[in-house]
Amino acid sequence: MSLLEVNNLDVRFALRRGDVKALRDVSFSLDRGERLGIVGESGAGKSVAAFTLLNLIARPGYIAGGSIRFDGQELTGMSDRALRRIRGNRISMIFQDPMMTLNPVLSIGEQMVECLKAHRRIGSREARAIALRKLEQVHIPSPEARLDQYPHELSGGMRQRVIIAIALLLDPDIIIADEPTTALDVTIQAEIMDLLLELCEKHNVGLILITHDLGVVSQVTQRMLVMYAGRVIEQGPTREIINDPQHPYTQGLMNALPQMATPGSRLNQIPGSMPSLDNLPSGCAFHPRCGFVTRPDGSERSACRTRVPEFVASGNCRVACHMVAEMLDQERIPAEETPR
């Protein structure tokens, strides 16, 4: 059994005009020390997924169904008190914007020590020593002095290092990093990503990396999920998905990478934009933007418009697409027909 198992997770936002389904039927798992990437456009539900794991979605969001099992415990429906013992302790988070994540009126030391004290019976001096050691691990120059400084005295990159140090404070099993480098300078992005990767490998920490940067995902993670409009549409080993994307949306994402365009030509893009969650198209949510609804012979695949696609196994990957399912069926038909 995996360390973290998410099954059929449904998250909704109760709005006045009705529930909006932010996550539907999301399932994935994470083994100890494994690194998983969650990829998708803005609004696909990546961050909601991240925050839901620790039940940190704010009202009016709520978990409408499914289960989150972590180390044998069910996290959905767990009391806030019990969840607090897991948050920051066994599963910690790294947020997107380091400029906003640290409390401006508390010193770095205070913000680190309070986290240690929330989870361990520990003296202030001892906590400070641990904090200092973690700051050293994230390669912050003169860490001793940093402890007494306030967030505004540090640059964005430095602050993200501090946040990584906080995430590592209690030697967690899993770190959830929600676009940890998006808000940073391009020159620092690689540095921070390398640091995160190095520390996760060294301490055998599982990583859930939420990003829209396919390059980072392919370098850092072993497995990945592609999300679209609140659903997982493709998941599997990162290398296989990157090398041979099955779902038309994943293919579109890969084609949209600037490296994929012919020099001098316009960059490729997926036509249209992601539908709003409270007004999803029928059938496959991607079908209005998909170029494969019409078969190569000109006939239309009506299932795309009417039925939500089920997952089908393609190699080591699982894909939710009628076209892929149809192609797999056709490959299978001769084999199945012979015995008849």
Partner: protein, 348 residues
């Protein structure tokens, strides 16, 4: 720190200089001081001689310099009403006002922070909605009306109440608002002498009882204002990323509310609060008049009624000084709470 204080001292001097010019200009334009001093029967020639003797015919600048020279030594002349140095008159009335303002400030701080925080943490709770409703009423009713209603209810008493007399709480409330003379609402009773001109209401239960109604009515506008301000700021802070991050760290909600969120909430509140303490001193004019509280506000109103110009000028200068001092103190406190503000020129 010392550099900050020196800088603020110069600011203070500048502000006081401007106030002194305004105050002094009033002196020249608010009626004829001679007329206030002498009777109807004094002939014009004598008035002219007196005017010359008092230096009232000198050019404005000469008069101002003379005024400033005396003002630096806290000498603003003689009060016409009291016939003694105005500084002494003001000093005698100052403690009553300061104590009223102190009691009101205490009331505001002790009530606005918990109520504001509560209604931000539980915005949908019935109690929060009740507080928000009452605070709107409080803001909209003028201080003197609140004062009169308070006097009618708690000092004079009413003959009819909507509360059922056969329940415990009903009869307690009825007792409270129907008893005549239940609460003192005139003057400050018999305050205890501390030293000099300072008599205090804080030293005895009796004295404190006298403070209740005036302090409540003086707080009736500021308290709702602060409740709403704290609530609005707190609501915004609770949405911030650093509060979410603190939750993700596994910090207890109590610590998040009362350390992480409250400290950030209080930054703008402190700034507004500093200005409002000064305004509170100004509002005492109304409250003190209704309750006949023998403070500076009541004294100032009497001085205006009787054109006691030196007293008016002294009041303006002293109130200006109070403003400057409280603002400096507030800036100091703000600097201590907010680490992004550097009081000194120390490099970051």
């Amino acid at each position: 720190m010392i550099a900050f204080l020196i800088k603020r001292l110069f600011h203070a001097l500048l502000v006081m200089f401007v106030i002194s010019i305004i105050a002094f200009s009033i002196q020249d334009n608010l009626g004829d001081p001679i007329q206030q001093m002498v009777g109807q029967s004094v002939p014009e020639s004598e008035r002219e001689a007196l005017r010359e003797e008092l230096g009232l015919n000198d050019p404005f600048l000469v008069q101002y310099l003379r005024f400033a020279k005396n003002a630096v030594q806290l000498d603003f002349g003689y009060s016409y009403i009291f016939n003694e140095p105005t500084t002494e008159v003001v000093l005698r009335h100052l403690p009553a006002t300061l104590e009223l303002v102190a009691a009101t400030t205490l009331l505001i701080v002790l009530l606005s922070v918990p109520i504001g925080v509560y209604s931000a943490i539980k915005p949908r709770a019935l109690l929060s909605r009740f507080f928000m409703g009452v605070s709107i009423v409080g803001i909209s009713i003028p201080v003197f009306l609140t004062a009169i209603v308070l006097i009618q209810l708690f000092a004079i008493g009413v003959t009819w109440t909507p509360f059922p007399a056969d329940t415990g709480w009903g009869s307690w409330l009825n007792d409270l608002i129907t008893t005549e003379g239940g609460m003192p609402a005139y003057g400050r009773g018999d305050p205890v002498h501390v030293f000099g001109t300072w008599y205090t209401n804080f030293a005895s239960t009796d004295g404190l009882v006298y403070l209740v109604l005036p302090a409540i009515s003086l707080a009736s506008i500021m308290l709702p204002l602060f409740i709403r301000l704290i609530r609005a700021e707190m609501l915004e802070v609770l949405q911030s990323e650093y509060v979410k991050f603190a939750r993700a760290k596994g910090i207890s909600l109590r610590r998040i509310y009362f350390l992480h969120a409250l400290k950030n909430t209080m930054l703008p509140v402190i700034t507004v609060g500093g200005v409002q303490i000064g305004t509170l001193v100004a509002y005492t004019i109304l409250t003190e008049t209704v309750f006949q509280w023998p403070g500076m506000g009541l004294m100032f109103l009497n001085a205006i009624n009787r054109s006691d110009i030196p007293l008016i000028v002294t009041y303006l200068m002293i109130v200006g000084l109070i403003f400057v001092i409280t603002n400096t103190l507030v800036d100091l406190i703000y600097g201590l709470v907010n680490p992004t503000v550097k009081l000194t020129g120390k490099p970051a």
